[in-house]
Symmetry: C2
Subunit: 263 residues, 2 copies
């Protein structure tokens, strides 16, 4: 019965700016073993790294974190912006979080979640436990309701299990299969971490084959470049771009080639 187990780490206190998170986690998980994977909510990483800022205007904070607007929707509950942030991650509100922080504050994502994960993994490895670390955030997704946790930082753990070149039972190559195990670990951990409860860390034990060298590629590997993405822009936004370009072309066509800048 090969398998694995997952549990939430009890007793993690409210994290404050300047907290030594690796040391705190070492104390909270004294029985960490080789092959364990620690899954840590980015929220506590951000708090330890001083990423909570006073922000009267959450919308401005989102704008400041945005590299590229992907899609915007207005509804009765306000404006939703799906944007690409500095990490290349496409998500709602650029990961700017106002839950579980004091009124008038927002929490930004860690500056370098792969680096944050690496510092935690290194601390455990120095103590003799060869662990992997995944730093997570909660992401919505097109076409499906609800959210799942995903890996926004990782160290010492595979995030993509490359099966290309392996074969199925009929001897065919599994050429397009590339399980995003980093995200699957994040999802598995979310089932015990819980958002209302204060359980921001889980341990996954039994998947040691996914633990890798400390300098293995981090969660950046899970980010697809916009130019390779069939959904790099929201449908409305792409339609509007097309409409604008088409309108200009139509005016030129009908006007016999004269460029009309009225549009």
């Amino acid at each position: 019965m090969a398998g694995y187990s997952v549990w939430a780490v009890e007793g993690i206190p409210e994290i404050v700016d300047g907290e030594d998170l690796p040391a705190l986690l070492l104390a909270a998980i004294p029985d960490a073993e080789d092959g364990d994977i620690l899954v840590v909510s980015s929220k506590i990483v951000s708090k330890a790294e001083g990423r909570m800022i006073a922000a009267a205007d959450r919308e401005q904070a989102i704008t400041d974190e945005t590299v590229r607007v992907v899609a915007t929707r207005r509804s009765s509950v306000g404006r939703t912006r799906i944007v690409e942030n500095r990490l290349g991650i496409v998500q709602a509100a650029a990961g700017v979080d106002s839950s579980n922080v004091p009124e008038g504050h927002v929490l930004l994502l860690p500056v370098d979640p792969d680096g944050s994960a690496r510092r935690i993994a290194a601390a455990f490895r120095e103590r003799g436990a060869r662990v992997g670390v995944v730093v997570t955030d909660t992401l919505g997704r097109p076409w499906r309701t609800g959210q799942t946790d995903a890996a926004i930082g990782a160290a010492g753990v595979q995030v993509l299990a490359d099966l290309r070149g392996t074969h199925d039972a009929h001897g065919r190559r599994l050429d397009v299969t590339l399980p995003a195990v980093g995200d699957e670990l994040a999802a598995a951990a979310d089932l015990v971490k819980g958002k209302a409860a204060s359980l921001p860390v889980a341990v996954v034990r039994g998947l040691g084959h996914l633990v890798a060298e400390l300098d293995a590629p981090g969660a950046r590997l899970l980010v697809r470049a916009a130019e390779q993405d069939m959904f790099r822009l929201g449908s409305d936004e792409a339609y509007d771009e097309g409409y604008h370009d088409g309108f200009d072309a139509g005016v030129r066509e009908a006007g016999g080639g004269d460029r009309d800048d009225e549009t």
Copy 2:
């Protein structure tokens, strides 16, 4: 140490058309307990339900399964079509699978994966084990590399854990948080099921609070309607639609209101 464990079920044989899958799973998992969640790859459900068809032309099979084309891309390895299928699920190739099937055949998705899950869950409940069942498929996703398993069928298990109305540690309502636990269960199971290995079933034990009545909403609940989706169409496709409409409008504008049907 609250938590859960996941393991793959050994000894599941190659499934053939007409197989009584509930009976086979009852025999393979004799020690199923109240609160267990069985996670079953749709591939074996499809095979048992006779969804493997001879198909010289996989492209035609995909077309036949498609309700709506969302996006298309041509590349050196061929054409990728992201489509909505009869189940409302948006995925590559309409879920038409040609791995782990004999040459010249393809495997279609189950006709009603929620119903398939319900039949399995009912069989276990008749034997006295109140289990939940998730039927999975492997889905790509925009903006992120690789694939994760997701729930395309479910019975007797929550697929969305509604936290709306609950509060965070600061007393704020978690109004938009709706964890897609059905998909997270599928992801957690994929970490042990493996695609090259013949391990199409996993048991999740320890998350009994997610087990629900047999008539609880199935995986359909995880499908977002296209009209509510900011990414209902690929960026190129939406641009092209906009361009076409804009061109017509531009021609009308420049031509003084005459409709020009040349476009």
